[in-house]
Amino acid sequence: MTVRIWSLAGALAVLALLIALPDVVRGYYVALATKMLIFALFAMSLDLLLGYTGLASLGHATYFGVAAYTVALLVVRAGVNSATAFPAALAAATVTGVLFAPLALRARGSYFLMITFALAQVVWSIAFGWRSLTNGDDGMPNVVRPDFGWSLDNTVSFYHFVLATVGVAALLLAAIANSPFGRALRGIRESESRMQALGYDVWRYQYVAFVLSAFFAGIAGALYAYYNRFVGPEYLNVVQSAEALIMVILGGAGTLLGPAIGAALIVYLEDFVSSMTEHWVLVLGIIYVLVTLFAPRGLIGLVVEFRQRRAAK
């Protein structure tokens, strides 16, 4: 019981800190924190699929990018109100998930990785190739931020908007993960055949998890389009998908909190390393190798291991 009270107090303290952040640090870091929050949500959305359901996707950027492009196309090309574009973007990401899930779910393991990768490439090739619609490689600038009566154009108000959106999404994700549905997903991760034998319709659970994770990735993608006021094909790239994977693994798959920390860490490191050297890509590659070799269960896993070892003594 005391543990619960302490973690609740901790969560509230963190929340208070996050809300007060713009009063403490300067604008540059508020913008960086906004990016961290967006990628935290992106990583958590993948965690629902990877950590909870046990399906490793190499195409998660698809849903992120489809939402971002929907916002940009509606706002820039169709002149739709930016706030109206937001739900449309979530719908687009979800529909893409609905369409791709049955194709991807025919396979497991490394073939699942490959099919999600291949499907992601199809979408990327449209964004990259269809220049007259998407500007191809150059991307689409001038994505205005929504205006809900108060302007989101300044860094601080946009930060609070992102914090609120990501906060609500994270609570929803946590509720899903701890619901009977979420527990069934964990059962499927541990043993598909056993859950099948228990009478669970495993395919349907995986399908719903896939679509939900696409939906939440869509929220992150739409926010990111607002954040940069720009979209480009790199949002849909496999590099983006792989970055989401490493964020989840670095933090600790299957914990939600871990992937959020992993995402914040990678975003921070990218900013920090890029300010010192041109070789961020090299550093990122080394992070992939080191995490895989030495922290396969992530930072949260390391903490748990450390505690267990201390308890054993």
Binding site: F128, T292, L293
Partner: protein, 303 residues
């Protein structure tokens, strides 16, 4: 692949005359490119078939192999030496990656994929550091630096040489797989690695060997592509993705699938770039998506 696209465009400009010859030339270009893809896809497919590893470093083997060949060619002037040096160096790199890294995670696809992704980044950054960001062209060997008349056009002999090399490698791999002891072991391993091990086959050695040979083939493709496509940062990714399309279309673990898939993708890619430049990638990805839907194991893959 800008260099190739430009070549195809120049040919397409003269489309008025000898329309049918244009088709022959475009098809030959596609087959030549397909042969390069085959060299990549054969390794990718065998590595997957045997070890179930999705090797995302394969494109890096191609690019770094090509760069090594380029450096050796500049130092010695010998194309043959460039091929040998690239193949040997990358084979060693591949063997090391398999032995010291991938092996720890046998049949655990996520860590393996992340490792190969990590190496992809590391090689991309290191080669950008060493060889710079501009496209570099390899000189073709003297004897192939000419053209043969083909209708109203002149066709570069080097591309015909590429087709010949591809066919020779395909023949050699097939012979190796069907008629040697090691090839038999390989087929047994692809069918069921556990049983193969139980039968006393040294699966461990086989893994390293296949990974090294696959890497070497990718390096050869890099050197061979140098005079036609040039080498530049990002080429690693472009060929990797096309090679993946090839194995998805052809079926994983099948040499025949890799060959048929490579020719198909090479030709589609070439015609796409010449006639629908805006949807060039689409002409390749759409057939792949259709095959994924209709026949997820690919044209020649087994379940």
């Amino acid at each position: 692949m800008p260099a190739q696209g430009a070549g195809a465009g120049a040919i397409a400009d003269r489309r008025g005359r000898g329309c049918s010859m244009i088709w022959v030339i475009q098809t030959l270009n596609g087959v030549a490119f397909g042969m390069l893809l085959f060299l990549l896809a054969a390794g990718l497919s065998l590595i997957y078939g045997l070890m179930k590893i999705l090797n995302l470093t394969h494109g890096s083997f191609y690019l770094v192999g090509g760069y090594i060949g380029l450096t050796v060619m500049r130092l010695t002037g010998s194309f043959v030496l460039a091929l040998i040096a690239a193949a040997v160096a990358i084979a060693l790199v591949g063997a090391a990656i398999e032995r010291f890294f991938l092996r720890r995670f046998h049949l655990d696809e996520l860590p393996q994929t992340l490792l190969t992704f990590g190496f992809l980044f590391i090689f991309a950054d290191l080669s950008l550091w060493i060889w710079g960001g501009n496209p570099l062209m390899l000189n073709e060997p003297q004897i192939f630096a000419r053209s043969v008349p083909m209708g109203d056009y002149a066709y570069p002999v080097y591309r015909l040489f590429l087709i010949a090399v591809g066919l020779a490698v395909a023949g050699a791999l097939w012979w190796f797989q069907e008629h040697t002891r090691l090839g038999t072991m390989l087929r047994a391993g692809v069918d069921d690695a556990e049983i193969a091990r139980a039968l006393g086959i040294n699966v461990s050695l086989l893994f390293t060997l296949v990974f090294a040979v696959g890497a070497a083939l990718a390096a050869l493709a890099g050197v061979l592509a140098g005079p036609v496509l040039s080498l530049y940062p990002g080429a690693d990714f472009e060929v990797l993705i096309l090679a993946f399309v090839v194995v998805i279309v052809g079926g994983l673990g099948s040499l025949r699938g890799a060959l048929v898939g490579a020719l198909l993708v090479g030709i589609l890619d070439n015609f796409g770039k010449a006639y629908f430049p805006e949807f060039a990638l689409f002409t390749v990805f759409v057939p792949m998506a259709v095959i994924l839907v209709v026949r997820p194991t690919g044209l020649f893959g087994r379940r």
